[in-house]
Each structure stands twice: as C-alpha cells, then as structure tokens.
Symmetry: C2
Subunit: 373 residues, 2 copies
Amino acid sequence: MSLLEKWAVFAARNMSEFRVVPVNLHDELVTQAYQARGYDEDESQVAAEVCRDATRHGIRTHNALKALHLDHLFGSAVGGCVPGVEVEVVNRRFKASEVWNANRKLGQAVAVAAIDRCIELADEYGVGQVSIDNAFHYLWGGGYVMKAAERGYIAYTNCTSTLAEVVPFGGKFPTLGTNPHSWGFPTQDANGFPIVIDWATSTVAMGRVQQLKREGKSLPPGAAVDEEGNETLDPNQVAALLPFGAHKGYGMALMNELVGGFIGGSLPTIRGREGAKTTSCFYFQVIHPDAWDSGASVGGGQMGNVKEVIDDILGHGNEGCLLPGQIEAGFRARTDAAGGLLFSDAELGEFKELADGLGIGGWDIENFGVEPA
Amino acid sequence: MSLLEKWAVFAARNMSEFRVVPVNLHDELVTQAYQARGYDEDESQVAAEVCRDATRHGIRTHNALKALHLDHLFGSAVGGCVPGVEVEVVNRRFKASEVWNANRKLGQAVAVAAIDRCIELADEYGVGQVSIDNAFHYLWGGGYVMKAAERGYIAYTNCTSTLAEVVPFGGKFPTLGTNPHSWGFPTQDANGFPIVIDWATSTVAMGRVQQLKREGKSLPPGAAVDEEGNETLDPNQVAALLPFGAHKGYGMALMNELVGGFIGGSLPTIRGREGAKTTSCFYFQVIHPDAWDSGASVGGGQMGNVKEVIDDILGHGNEGCLLPGQIEAGFRARTDAAGGLLFSDAELGEFKELADGLGIGGWDIENFGVEPA
C-alpha cells in the first residue's frame, strides 16, 4: 500500500459521514450567489472553483459557506471587497517583480492571477514575485500554492489576516493577524502528491476556541491569553491568541506584518475595522525548480534525488509519519472516489437556505447519497 | 529611553561578566589559525570577520572557537571542507538565479559571496537567488542576512545541517537536520536595528540537552524523544530532538531538506557521516525593498509605513515585547561601548591554548580588562 493510499484510508476513517453533491450543482449555486452580490461572471466562477478545491481537499473551514460568510462580514456587504473592480500594476521597475493595487477586488480572483503572473516571471527569471496592496481575503492560501505545485513550480504565499487576534511573544494585547504562510513543492512524482506546508501562525484558530468552549474542553498549552495577557487554558477566559512555538512562531507572524508594511499596507490593529486604510496585503512568489538544480543528482535526475531524500526522511522507523499535504491528498482521493463534493448534513442545510434565497432548486438533502465514514 | 537602549540594558543585565579583547588581536589569531590549516588569506580573513561578527552580537555558540572546532570535526581535518578550492557556477539558465557547486569551500566565504551575488541580482530583478550544492557549514546564518539588511535589503537563507538529529513529527528516528532559517529586514531606520528572525527548527539544540544534563535539569516539553521515539523530559534519555511547534516546525525543518533535495543534495541520514555524497546545501535569496513598494504609504514613505506598523505591534500594552534581532543589537551596543570583543575567562583559556599552539603571544588572561555584568 502506497503512503497516499494509507493516508487516504486514515483520512476516511477519521472523517464523519458525508453526503455527495455533484460538482456542477455546487459550482452553479456558488457562482450565482456571488453574481447576486454584484460580482461579475469571471470573478464568480473563480470564487466557485476556489471553494470547490477547498472542499475537495477537506478544508472545511474554507468552503463556499465560509467564503460567502466572510464576504458578508467584511466584503461586498460593507465595502471591504468591491465587485467588478480592476487590478492595477503600480510598480514594475524590477524585471522579476510586480506590485499590484488590488483595489479590494475579490481575493480569490487576485490570487489566481498573481500565481499565473509569478509563473510567467519564474519561467524567465527562475523566480518571480507579486506583492499586492489593498487586498481582500483569499481564503485558503494552501490551495494556490498546491495548484502551482501541480503545474510543476515551487510556490509561496503569505498575507496579513483581516483582524489582529494574536499577541506578540511576551505581550498582552493582540496586534498581529493569525498571518498564514503557505509553501507548495512539486513533489507529486516523488511521493504521489505535492507537499504543501500551510498553516496560520497562531497555535489554534479563534474558531477552535469557540468549539472548545461549546464542548466544555480545555485549550492546549501556549494557545491563548486572558484580558491581562496571562496564558490561559480556559476557552471562556480567552481574550487573544498566542503564536505557535513561542518566539519562533512570533517571528513567523511578525514577518507577514513586515512584508505588508514594506508593501505599504495598513496597521494591524485597524485592519478590517475602521480608519484610513483597513485592507490586507498579499505576497506571492514562484520558483522554477530547474533554477535550483545543480545537476549533481545521482540517478533519476532532480526528482529522483527529491524522492531519495523524502524516502530517507520517512524511513528508519518513520514510515508512519505524515508529509504536509498528505491528509488533503487523502481527502481528495476520497472525494474523487465518491464522484462529488462531500458535505455534512448541517452544511447541506445551509446550502439549502442559500439556494432557496436565490430561487434555485435541487438542494433537498434527500437528493444526495450518503458516503459512509 | 528607546527600545534599543532598553534592551541593551536588558542584555547587559542578563549576561555574565566578560573580558574585553581588542578586535585586531582576535582577527589576527583567527586568521592565522585558519591559515595554519591551509586556508588562503582571503578565506581566513572572511572566517575571522564572520566569527568577530557573531561574538560582537553575543552569538556565543558560533564564535571562533566553535568555528575552528567544527572545522576540526567535519572540515579541513577530515576532507569535509577543502581549503583554497574554487566555487563553480553550474547553472545560470535563469536570469535572476544561479546555482553554484561550492566544492566544499569554506562555508563563510561561500555565504558572503552568495549574498553579494544575490544583491547584484536583486538590484536588477527585484529578487535574486543563489542555490549551493556541496557546501560546508556557514555557522551563523543570521549574520549574513543581518549584513544584507544593513545594506538595505531583505534577505533569507536556509541550509541543511551537517547531521540529522531531529525526528519528523510522529516519528521515532532522527532523519532531519536542525535545519535553520534566517530572515533579515532592513528596518534599522524604523526601530534602530535590522529585524533578524533566525532560529533552528528543533525546539532546543543538542548542546542545550548536554548543558541540562550537566546541570541535572529537565527539558522543556516538545523538545526530545528517547530511543523508542517517546517524548522525554529527561536529558539522560534523549536519543533525538523534536521540531519546535509540533507539525508546524516539522514543516519548516522538512523545507530545508526539500530545497536541498531539489538542488541535488545528499540524503539527511548520511550527511556529515559516510557514503557517496555527504555535503550540505545552502539557499540564499535577496529582495530589493523597492520591488515590494506599492507607493501607497501615507506619510514617511515606505520606511515610515514600516515604522507605523512596528509601533502598532509594540503598542497597546506590548511595549515590553522584544523584536527578533533586538537582543543581538543590544549585545552589539554593549560590545561597541566596551571597545572590544567580549569573552568569558573559559573562552579566553581556549584562545590562549590556540595562540600558544601557533606561537602567538599576548593572550595571557590578565592582559584583558574586565567588563562587569
């Protein structure tokens, strides 16, 4: 059994029962929901594709329901995101670099375009970067670098989160976003799927704190502080989050603020709230793998060498370890085997409401077959 | 009192008493020690400068004594490092990218040259990268990106460590190096010193485990495993280290192995030991800050915007927080005020031995004034 098959089994075993929704039904509903909010056809289709990809890989925190909810809270409903607006290139002084003013265009559309441009630059220069001011939430950063990796490129993105929820190491007041980083490596020919290292720089997300509160459970150590800035394990006492890994994760969270600061972005504590400038920044970078190749690999070329390195890491008794991106690859295998997107009954209830509001039929829960856990 | 002054005081208060060694005496001894091992004048001078910089910033784990010890264990004494050898550019297919075969040249000399070349590339392309195969230990990665930041650039480096001492998340056998990452940001005009985010991806270093063992103390949680791969707090039971921050730090440690794998580097478990190819890889990247600038900063230009972001993060009750690089900047201020490099009596004992071996006088401990803690 290959590692991928093993973890597909693992992912399947550890997930709940789902119902199977045809991809075209999902995409049609999501596209129409975005169009109803004023987004044009291209934007709405990209939005639906990005949501579909998140669901296909088991990223339930960034499915279409969450995307539309974020748009409602911070986006088109309140001016944080502007349907139909154009992106401007404001700086192309350097040959392998561009800076864009996104003008608060839909984040998913901006991110997809930025990766495309970075790939063009990487094809010529070996590395290309696009920095973006006045951005609106791009949802699942891992998805963009995963797609670039599937096309054969090494890709990286970070962004400043909408809200400042994280306390600097040693501090008491949240002045940092949960500021995620995402790296994708085109290792599919070595281990069956792209390695995607993708996480926020808080130990847990605020959504997880709410969940533990509802379940009456404790937080893990190093996850949150109370109003006084003292660490707490009690979700009811949480005033703000802590960076993962103490000062090391703090450095990773700070980095996105510095990148945003150099781009010209807003202050973390007014972002997503009020004041003169409240938008986020995105940063994208793509590298052509040939631009790293010393040609010194012994047998199997560059990818053969990558495979030998990965096999060495997962050998010697470490055969049960996961690679980053493996759970997502496993969930994708389960999704593809089911022949549609997998949603819980609760999620389908929300989709039904959304469909009813748009006058779209076909979303009665009994229409969808059950895919057992 | 500025933050820098405050932390200079902090650093001073928390450090031991030292003796003050004139810089030229230090550099002369270290240069001669390298020359005695066969390194040429240029290599030896760069080696001395890098060691001097580490000591000036309080990086006592990477001073000249450690550098020479590493060279003895893994370097010129055993063929891991080759004095006087030339670096070859083996891949310049892409305009903003180069790949070098270092041919096991002294790591410090290779790193300094790589940063210089990256800066030239960044001046033209906005971003430049140099990937290096067959490298030998460059010691303090933070020093190279700090120097680039002082010259006004954003810089990044990672490398694969000589030995595999770290267990992948969920594993039991060490198949990853302590694999450090170093980022430098030219923020000196905003906060008084370059922000330098610089750490290994293990929770603690193996040297720290040895120290705790000698002192009869426990390890912090999440730092190490025993022979069976079970986490242990007992330094006597330690068989291998754990990545910091669970799966997130594991991703950061894995990243260096992937970069090394794409370059064509060796397998982690044979690196620094035996087998066909046992060398490390380096990766360097430099970005021109203008290549990130949207021009949208309100007042004070790009650096004014960076300053506002940093002030926001360290405001709101977080005034006591450190910025990465601040302790090093504080120690440097103490060093410069003392008018020489600061060493402990134990370190001076080792320098005296080294000097005696080379027939160099002037290293009697009473020659050096005491700088109180």
